[in-house]
Amino acid sequence: MHKGKAILRQIALHLFLLAVTAFVLFPILWIVSLALDPRNIDKPLELRLIPPGASLHAFRKILFEPFRLLCRNPSDISTCMTFSKLLFNSLLVSLGTSVIAVILGASAAYAFSRFQFIGREAGMLGFIVLLMLPASATLAPLYVLLSQIKIGGEPLRATLPGLMLAYGSGALPFSIWNLKGYFDTVPRELEEAALIDGATQLQVFRHVVIPLSAPAIAVTILFGFMSGWTEFILAWTFLENPSRFTLAMALRAMQGQFATPWSEFAALSILMSIPVVLLFFALQRYIVSGLAMGAVKG
């Protein structure tokens, strides 16, 4: 009797999750179908996953041919960007953004969660308030500002670390608020025990709070990565040298032409989502870390 109920529950759950899957995949399969379509059209003419004459040509072109739109010298093909170079830049910027968001964010969030101090509430609101002016409006002033800061004779704005800083500051409010909310749920008794055993405040933070907050840290890394991975407007305005361009910018460049190469456009979008899914797979273990413990006991 009890077992039958459990099976029914499983079936109901799967029906629900399959419905969600269908909802999630419908637009994505549409993009896949565009990428396989040799006709370079902006929308498939009928509902078919595999269009007539389907080929992987667009994927091959993206992966192995140089991007003729992004070259330092348009007449010399060897100065053009390739997928691997763009991927490297994208990874660098996105991981850098994650690092800034997690390290600076965790430090601030810990103070906001654990200490009672003057200006705490104002400080926390201060971080979130800065998100409220529409980002598009601050582009020009930020451009002017970061152009004034020069590193090695080059404006900070036109370098990848400059981009990391800009994205990192965009990701910080979420990082701080998200981590603060999670730190609140970590029992303070554990910290107190460590302090009594002679650990310093910093050691407690690194060896007690951070490991116990793995799910929130993983979510923050993912979020920081995402904000660096897909952004192109700011990068497009700031970077000058094509050798620093990212994948999101390459995607944007394709759309700027007279006729968008839709198949390649779709293929590149799909390729771009793969690293994110891989990162999520890698982090999933930490996001759901508590579950494993529960399962052992149950």
């Binding site: 499983q10 529409p134 500051s169 998200n178 979510v219 797979f281």
Partner: protein
């Protein structure tokens, strides 16, 4: 605190101030980055809002005094704000108060669906003994993983009246089930509201952009909720089961209070992001039909890129800022998000 002398009150304030130094050192690195990268540009923006900044003033450079005399924009005080709030901008279909109402309806409906779906799906994925959990979880981040404006363009094409996937899907349903729904609906252009009465200010395209943005937004909430669910010790549910609690009771008495600290920040930020969600509105409905799905940021964008009225756009951003600030302060009052948990 009767009989406390002013001097000792000053002393205790100084002691508190000294005790605040340590915590502020933890905040400083993040604070300095935000100050340089975000605060200064925003301050510049505030100044712009009080000037009649136009295209001819673009060569003005705050750090170069030579450009001041020739290119500095004229100061106009509150004129920009007055024009915005009294609908005196030369934009088609412009009505500030309708925009604001629509923006609020847009935000509330979206965040509601994001949270309900996000938490619901996180709970479903978290249930014990579920097979294929990892595969579902990986698939469900896909809407978040694809670049936002790609999916916006895709959704726009899906609503295409002739070749769009939505109409094609309806055709397939008609063929399979013998129904006869119309297959040529102009989803983004129909001016006649699908639901009348108090909701008649929402055109069909509102429901279309809503659906697209629900698709985009809930995976984020699911990821945050999944993390939060991990903080709940399994023993609590076991103890509740022994005491005879129903599933519904366990949800409201254990799950909701315990994931609340992690969900509140996500909801507050989700509100701000959705309020300023540019991609979905701009690329899918473009604010149509007749500007009835326009939100404040898309309107501000048009001021910059179609009219080149930088000063007015800056003032517009400031208005958006104050509206969001009020919403956030109310939110914070209700949810007590900024309070230290162990105060």
């Amino acid at each position: 605190m009767k009989g406390v002398a002013p001097s000792s009150r000053w002393d205790s304030f100084r002691r508190k101030l000294r005790a605040s130094l340590g915590p502020w050192l933890y905040v400083a690195p993040a604070g300095i980055v935000m100050l340089i990268i975000t605060f200064f540009p925003q301050a510049f923006q505030v100044w712009m809002a009080f000037t009649d900044f136009r295209i001819k003033h673009l060569r003005f450079n705050l750090f170069n005094p030579n450009t001041w005399e020739q290119f500095a924009p004229p100061f106009v005080g509150f004129a920009n704000f007055y024009k915005i709030l009294t609908n005196q901008l030369a934009i088609e279909n412009y009505d500030f108060w309708r925009l604001l109402l629509f923006n609020i309806v847009w935000t509330v409906t979206n965040v509601f669906f994001h949270v309900v779906l996000g938490v619901g799906i996180a709970l479903a994925l978290n249930s014990r003994g579920l097979k294929g959990r990892r595969i579902y979880r990986a698939l469900f981040v896909l809407p978040w993983a694809l670049p936002g404006y790609i999916t916006a363009l895709t959704w726009r094409n899906m609503y295409d009246p002739r070749f769009g996937a939505i109409n094609q899907l309806i055709e397939v349903i008609n063929r399979t089930f013998g129904t006869s729904f119309p297959t040529d609906t102009r989803w983004l252009e129909v001016a006649q509201p699908p639901i009348g009465g108090p909701l008649s200010f929402l055109p069909l395209s509102f429901y279309c952009v809503l659906l697209a943005n629900i698709w985009l937004g809930w995976p984020f909430m699911t990821v945050v909720a999944t993390g939060a669910l991990q903080a709940i010790p399994e023993e609590l549910y076991e103890a509740a089961s022994i005491d005879g609690a129903s599933g519904w009771q366990k949800f409201w008495k254990i799950t909701v209070p315990l994931i609340r600290p992690a969900m509140v920040p996500a909801i507050m930020l989700g509100t701000i992001w959705t309020f300023n969600q540019f991609n979905v509105i701009y690329f899918i409905s473009g604010g149509g039909p007749f500007g009835r799905t326009e939100i404040l940021v898309t309107q501000a964008f048009k001021l910059v890129y179609e009219q080149r009225l930088y000063g007015v756009a800056a003032a517009f951003s400031l208005v958006v800022f104050f509206i969001l600030l009020i919403i956030t302060l109310i939110n914070n009052r209700i949810t007590r998000a900024t309070e230290a948990y162990y105060a």
